[in-house]
């Protein structure tokens, strides 16, 4: 039994209905708001553990809801977005949303995102320094030694490559946008930054022995960013 409380801000009644069912079957507590204004009121009065936010609300722009929540605290936000525009997702993520699910979505996908986001934010709360290592399948990262190994064998990475891998590992399960990674790894961004990141990522994948269609460690979200897998 988990006691997480989820606030769903969504105006479509039928979507709320099935979300209520799947969350309650999975032992989450769930409350609903039909518009942005109510959503914010409920957010501040109920203090939920996670917010699911539809970007297309009747009364206000979803990104403004993110802004208002983020002005107060770090409660994880999972955004529901329509497919057409990656830029919407990127904007929401850069404003502080933790993840997104594209409509139409399956319930398994939504639950997985919610689980990963909750786990992720719990770790963030304890402080990064507490964690000394990261492991995923047969991959191991020792943060102090700046060492990455797969199946016990050390993978030789450049400083930049390691920095990217470490950053993603510290946020495992969360998609980081290109802009976010560039800012944290290089400290500045210019015209060729995204290309530089993509080239580094291609090299990392080669060293990790990843094959397209079967990425195990670092997943790519086309046009948005990268995500360390989280199982």
């Amino acid at each position: 039994m988990n006691s997480y409380k989820i606030l769903v801000i969504e105006d479509e009644k039928n979507i709320c209905n099935f979300m209520k069912m799947i969350f309650e079957t999975n032992d989450y507590q769930v409350i609903f708001a039909q518009n942005g204004k109510n959503g914010l009121t409920m957010f501040f009065s109920h203090n939920p553990d996670l917010v699911i936010l539809d970007l297309g609300l009747p009364d206000m722009d979803g990104v403004d809801v993110i802004r208002k929540i983020r002005a107060k605290n770090d409660t994880p936000i999972v955004v529901l977005s329509a497919r057409t525009d990656e830029s919407d997702k990127v904007e929401a993520l850069d404003l502080g949303a933790n993840d997104y699910v594209t409509k139409p979505f399956g319930t398994a996908e939504l639950l997985a995102r919610v689980r990963a986001t909750l786990r992720n934010s719990r770790f963030q709360g304890t402080g990064k320094s507490v964690r000394e290592s990261f492991s995923l399948y047969d991959m191991e990262i020792e943060y102090d030694a700046r060492r990455v190994s797969i199946a016990g064998e050390e993978i030789k990475l450049t400083q930049t490559e390691y920095n990217i891998v470490q950053l993603l590992a510290l946020h495992a399960g969360k998609v980081l946008t290109y802009a976010e990674i560039i800012k944290k790894v290089w400290g500045y961004s210019d015209y060729g930054s995204v290309k530089k990141l993509q080239v580094n990522m291609a090299n990392i994948r080669k060293k990790f022995g990843e094959k397209p269609g079967e990425y195990k460690y670092i997943l790519n979200e086309l046009g948005v960013g990268y995500r360390m897998n989280d199982v």
Binding site: R83, T84, E86, G192, K195, Q198, A202, G213, N220
Partner: protein, 353 residues
Amino acid sequence: MNKNIRKNILKTVLIPSLCLLVCIIIEHYLAIDMVAPAIMALAVFLVSRVTEGYVYGIVASILSVLALNFVFAFPYFAFNFSIPENIISALIMLIITIMTSTVMTQLKWQEKVRAESAKEKMRGNLLRAVSHDFRTPLTTIYGSSTTIIENYDHLKKEQILQLTTGIREDTQWLMNMVENILSITRIDNGGVRLKKNSVVLEELINSVLVKFKKRYPNQKVTVSIPDEFISIPMDAVLIEQVIINILENAVQHAQGMTELSLTVHTEGRKVVFEITDNGCGIPRERLKSIFKDYFEIKDAPVDHNKKSMGIGLAVCASIIKAHDGEISVENREEGGCIFRFTLDEEDSLSEQL
């Protein structure tokens, strides 16, 4: 807009000036008389043709009348509107101009109307076809859910599962269709240029395979792409759609298929994508029209095979065309068919870090 006006003014001044020059050369050096009015009438006609609206033509005709009067009518190289011949010829020039401009403007306007109504008709066709295609799955969804609601107590668990599975299948088909229609509107959006970003080939292929696997978990795809780093400017959502549509087409139509493969190689600056299957191939008569525009196919009576991709391959063609690439399909001698499309690799200039 401003640039347009400047262009029109330039034409209005330049064409009569040139014609005047020609007149002077002919009359002065070749000593042929009386051709000036005809040549200037031609000038006015030309100006009306190449400019927009009435104004420029009228200005050109006034310029021409003045020039004729100044250069060729007695007294030479001076204005004189007191002689009746001069006034009459000036009037005739003006009438010619106004009539030409009117005809030209009308013609241009008619052309525009015709193009627009053709587009309108295509839109209508698409809308009609789509609504028609949507009816079948919607019937399943509506019927099955109603059955469950109204007979809940009498249905066995397996029956409910069967009905809901049908609902899910048809919903997926609808989702697919919607993606395709969205893609079309994304290209057709009043000539708005595509939103192109640099996309890494390997990441594109990965994303396609992950999505495809979600839909067809049991279908294996053999992949082979170049080792080097290849970046292609594209609208990734649309190109993903192209590859998925072609793969999906193979799964649904290539009967007897045991191998499906996706290969990419480069030829100079061109990146060539090939999707090959070893199924039943495509009938000759279908081969010709397979990429026909989505609205053209639907001019024919709608076929009632719900599982037909409907507009999938036509959408592929539109997307590749919008990327200035080429798309083709042919049957293979050893059986099955091969879809091929090309995109341009990024210029090396912007590749520099």
